[in-house]
């Protein structure tokens, strides 16, 4: 009986260890190095507008053994979006365009990863989730490339004692501003309908 108990305890420990190793890690996307950004580009007949937002936070649950189960939430503060022209910046943040005062966050809620192709630490796939911009939520599918770098968190942050993994996410996609109620059908000659977005994100999971 005593032997049976010991075997049962061992089995439980092994099962727990197995479940722990299979559990997804949660990566924090608040980047201490301030590199995480979303770049946007609008190409209208009269003017091209380019800018960037760096106020990124959020978390992504990623399991290298099961990348298709990736979920998460990436938040960009609307107020961090910036362009080179101060008047344009004022208009962009104003009530007629993004209305940063009323809608301070742009959120992408990742629900799943499809069409997954994994190759030596790099996962390519299509992330499907809900993008909320200016209070309008819409399901979007975004092609993403995810690089999982085990044990590299400390090296990136120049803190060798810090143990943990790093997750680098890159994505490029486009949205239509009218889908999110941003001056639909207005000023198309100056502000393009299509907004090209490039996401460059790095998240860390400390151990």
């Amino acid at each position: 009986m005593n032997r049976f108990h010991r075997l049962a305890a061992l089995a439980s420990v092994l099962a727990l260890a197995g479940s722990l190793s299979a559990a997804p890690q949660t990566f924090d996307f608040k980047d201490p190095k301030g590199v995480n950004n979303v770049q946007f580009h609008l190409d209208a007949p009269l003017e091209s507008i380019s800018g960037q937002g760096t106020g990124i936070s959020g978390a992504v649950a990623f399991d290298p053994a099961k990348p298709e189960a990736t979920t998460g939430r990436i938040v960009l503060t609307t107020g961090s979006l910036t362009v080179g022209n101060p008047t344009m910046l004022e208009h962009m943040q104003g009530a007629n365009w993004l209305d940063a005062a009323k809608f301070p966050e742009i959120v992408f809620e990742v629900k799943r990863l499809d069409q997954v192709v994994a190759n030596s630490g790099t996962v390519k796939g299509e992330a499907t989730g809900v993008l909320t911009l200016k209070g309008v939520s819409k399901e979007v599918t975004v092609p993403v490339t995810i690089s999982h770098l085990p044990g590299k968190l400390g090296a990136r942050l120049n803190q060798p004692d810090l143990k943990g993994d790093l997750l680098v996410v890159r994505a490029q996609f486009a949205i239509n501003r009218s889908d999110f109620g941003i001056q639909p059908g207005q000023y198309a000659d100056k502000v393009s309908e299509r907004i090209d977005l490039t996401l460059s994100l790095a998240g860390g999971a400390a151990q």
């Binding site: 190095k33 590199v35 995480n36 022209n85 101060p86």
Partner: protein, 89 residues
């Protein structure tokens, strides 16, 4: 006086256009900040860092043309000095 003002007009138009072209002939509006790309060596991710710098936009040559044109128009307000005709009486 007229000749001097017209020369200033030409100088104004040419200098503003020249400044705009030498700064890259930007088709957009004036910029007071310029984005310079920085790459994170570890991840290869790029981020734009903004530097305070003035870049003339398309308003610059237009403004030069407008001011130059207005000044050129003003030169017609100056009456040309006519040579004094000797009196026939």
């Amino acid at each position: 006086m007229r000749c001097l003002l017209r020369f200033v007009c030409l100088l104004l138009v040419l200098s503003t256009a020249g400044w705009w072209v030498s700064a890259g002939a930007r088709a957009g509006w004036w910029q007071t900040r310029v984005g310079v790309e920085r790459t994170d060596e570890f991840t290869g991710l790029s981020v734009i860092e903004w530097q305070d710098r003035f870049v003339p936009g398309v308003e610059t040559p237009l403004l030069g043309l407008l001011l130059g044109g207005a000044l050129f128009g003003a030169t017609f307000l100056f009456r040309r000095k006519l040579p004094i005709q000797p009196s026939s009486s």
